[in-house]
């Protein structure tokens, strides 16, 4: 998901950050937590938005990584090396975030988890590639990240492409829809998901009646939706974010549009149900499952809640897994040199994480990421409606 959201919002983060900085004591660029004693510690760089408008995600991710580190170190570390986290606050700002990659290089880290926002992860990956440092992404879903030919880059979460595919499978195989109109917001994330939805929907035998881009900053979509209504599609698929999606369902329903609304987790945000109101109910949204909704993540969620008295957010489980995957690679390599870790990461195929199995393919993507379809309930909460991996 958040690839796109993050990309879009990062431009504003600087301003918003000032206003809404989370009260996180001592966050100021970077801070080291030293746990290790004795043998050389394994230094793992962790870059996330720890302050600013996206801090709620970043802080939860950091908490999850600390849980994983504590449990590794409690068992004596990995091959006798204690794990040490070097955290860096990207503030969701590209310039600040990219500087983090240089900071990690200067600190001589052995591996990196980051950088949350795709528009930071992609340029940062080039810097780490040049320095030969492994990077595991736990939240950046933009396909491009792993398509740069960088052997050091891995991703435990899914990609936007896979999300479009899951939506298409759901529409064809579960809803038995024959026709769809596709709209996207012409941004990297939304357009990507919609494009893959359209391709796969056609491949599965469905018919795309129309695929159009919209400007997400408009307030009036009635003309467009009047045309959509005239096409009588079974499905209205939208690739984009919550504010525009809310307006689309509201205006569509008020024009008498009956099509089922399918969208992505960019739409899982307060503005969708706020702007959409009752019209949002019954919409289907594809997303990586929240840790709370995953059987395999139950112990993790329980420990998280016990430790932090808060619920983990969407990507916390992936961050937990990212750290453990690196630890596993060190064990496999019997070495903590970055080069050895990269080689070992490429050999990870059957790792069992809290979010599911991790199986890196040749470009570093996880071949078994889970996407599910949520349905917006009448109390505006989201409930898993279909899980393609469940059977």
């Amino acid at each position: 998901m958040q690839a796109g959201t993050r990309m879009r919002r990062s431009a504003l983060a600087g301003v918003v950050g000032i206003a809404s900085a989370v009260a996180l004591v001592g966050w100021n660029g970077a801070q080291a937590h030293v746990h290790a004693a004795g043998a050389t510690p394994v230094k793992i760089g962790f870059a996330n938005p720890l302050t600013g408008s996206e801090a709620s995600y970043g802080v939860s991710d950091y908490n999850a990584v600390k849980l994983a580190v504590n449990s590794v170190n409690a068992k004596g570390g990995v091959d006798g090396h204690k794990v040490q986290i070097i955290a860096y606050d990207t503030k969701a700002d590209p310039a600040t975030g990219i500087a983090g990659a240089h900071y990690f290089v200067s600190q001589g880290v052995n591996a990196v988890i980051g950088f949350f926002n795709s528009d930071i992860s992609i340029p940062a990956s080039a810097i780490l590639h040049a320095a030969g440092i492994p990077m595991v992404s736990a939240a950046s879903t933009n396909p491009k990240l792993t398509e740069q030919g960088f052997h050091n880059v891995f991703r435990v979460c899914g990609t936007d492409n896979e999300q479009g595919l899951v939506e298409a499978e759901f529409a064809r195989n579960v809803l038995h829809a024959k026709t769809a109109v596709v709209l996207d917001d012409e941004e990297v994330y939304g357009e990507g998901v919609s494009q893959f939805f359209a391709n796969d929907f056609k491949k599965l035998g469905g018919k795309i009646l129309s695929h159009q881009g919209i400007n997400p900053n408009l307030t009036d979509y009635t003309s467009l939706l009047t045309q959509v209504k005239a096409m009588h599609p079974d499905i209205l698929q939208f690739g984009g974010f919550d504010p525009a999606a809310g307006l689309l369902v509201k205006q569509g329903r008020s024009l008498g549009l009956k099509s089922t609304f399918i969208s992505d987790d960019g739409v899982i945000g307060p503005a969708f149900t706020q702007a959409g109101g009752r019209s949002a109910v019954g919409s289907f949204l594809s997303s990586a499952p929240s840790p709370q909704d995953l059987a395999s993540a139950r112990p993790f969620v329980a420990e998280y809640v016990r430790t932090y008295h808060a619920q983990p957010t969407e990507f916390a489980g992936y961050n937990y897994d990212a750290l453990n995957v690196i630890v596993q690679a060190i064990r496999d390599a019997h070495s903590i040199t970055p080069a050895a870790i990269i080689r070992a990461l490429a050999g990870i195929h059957t790792f069992k994480g809290v979010t599911g199995r991790v199986d890196f393919n040749s470009i570093g993507n996880n071949t078994t990421p889970e996407y599910v379809i949520y349905r917006v309930q009448s109390n505006y909460s989201n409930k898993i409606y279909w899980n393609p991996n469940a059977h």
């Binding site: 301003v15 809404s20 159009q212 307030t219 009047t226 504010p243 205006q251 008020s254 503005a271 702007a275």
Partner: protein
């Protein structure tokens, strides 16, 4: 056929919004020959102030939708009028004798300033208007119209009429038109030019605020940067109708709205904004006076 009729309704509703914003541009331009780009910001400010009024009143258990809507409109128009007064003082008056480009740039700066202040106060997330007019749109055969859509059209018509009456029939309106021709001579007649110019800005701000509140009521969602695109659309409508001409503002808005909605029948939605810019360029190039034309402003 049903689609065409529905598109006509759509076009009239959004066109009325454009017309209201255009009215603000036209008032200020008609009097001081300034394209006040702050208009978009005032529109956004009005939308947020209106929401604030609704929320405060709802917190005090005011429930009557009519009362809430009236209060939101009145509160937003007054407060935004005051804001526009401040804008005139700070960003326009000191530049009265400077080249018009300075004032133009200054008005753009005000647009972004207002946006940033709104963002600092409310965040970057869109805000939601409660639906005060009920969710159920009226249906007539193939056509649906939300009650708030009708409200937009009626308020736009009413305010346009009020402005036309004010400018054409009142003493102050006459003074405004005199200032448009010759500020110095208007002053010789005893017109306090500064005060009337300030009043013009206030009225422009209030008109923008009305548009903002109505858009909030009808579409439900407002964002801090809603004034950029809407400001441009309103400006295009003003130019299309003949900037400086009060009925022209509404005519320009309606024509632009209809054009945009009818064009979606034949062209994909991506063309929607291209249409706005194409119209703007075409009007500026081939008929700068717009549809109704600016009243002959020969300076005697």
């Amino acid at each position: 056929m049903g689609t065409l009729a529905q598109q006509l309704v759509n076009g009239v509703v959004i066109g009325a919004v454009y017309g209201l914003i255009a009215l603000g541009y036209t008032m200020v331009y008609g009097i001081v020959r300034l394209i006040n780009f702050a208009q978009g910001g005032l529109y956004a400010a009005g939308a947020f102030i209106g929401l604030e009024v609704v929320e405060i009143l709802q917190a005090h258990r005011v429930e009557s939708p009519a009362l809430l809507i009236l209060a939101a409109l009145a509160g937003a128009m007054i407060a935004t009028g005051a804001l526009a007064f401040l804008v005139e003082r700070v960003a326009y008056r000191p530049l009265r004798r400077a080249p018009i480009l300075s004032a133009l740039v200054s008005s753009l700066a005000v647009l972004f300033l207002i946006e940033n202040v709104i963002q600092l106060l409310t965040g970057a997330q869109p805000q939601t208007y409660p639906s005060l007019l009920g969710l159920q749109p009226w249906t007539l055969g193939p056509i649906t119209l939300a009650p708030s859509g009708l409200l937009i059209v009626l308020v736009a018509l009413g305010l346009m009429g009020a402005m036309q009456w004010f400018v054409q029939r009142t003493r102050t309106g006459r003074a405004m038109r005199a200032i448009a021709v010759n500020q110095e001579v208007a002053g010789l007649m005893g017109v306090d030019v500064r005060r009337v110019v300030a009043l013009t800005f206030v009225m422009g701000g209030a008109l923008g605020a009305a548009a903002g509140v109505l858009v909030g009521l009808n579409y439900g969602t407002i964002t801090f940067n809603m004034g950029e695109l809407a400001g441009l659309e309103g400006f295009t409508a003003a130019v299309l109708g003949g900037i400086g001409n009060v009925p022209g503002a509404l005519v320009g808005g309606l024509v632009l709205g209809l054009l945009q909605s009818l064009i979606t029948i034949v062209l994909p939605n991506q063309w929607n904004e291209a249409v706005v810019f194409a119209v703007l360029i075409a009007v500026l190039a081939f008929r700068p006076r717009g549809i109704l034309g600016e009243r002959v402003a020969e300076r005697a």
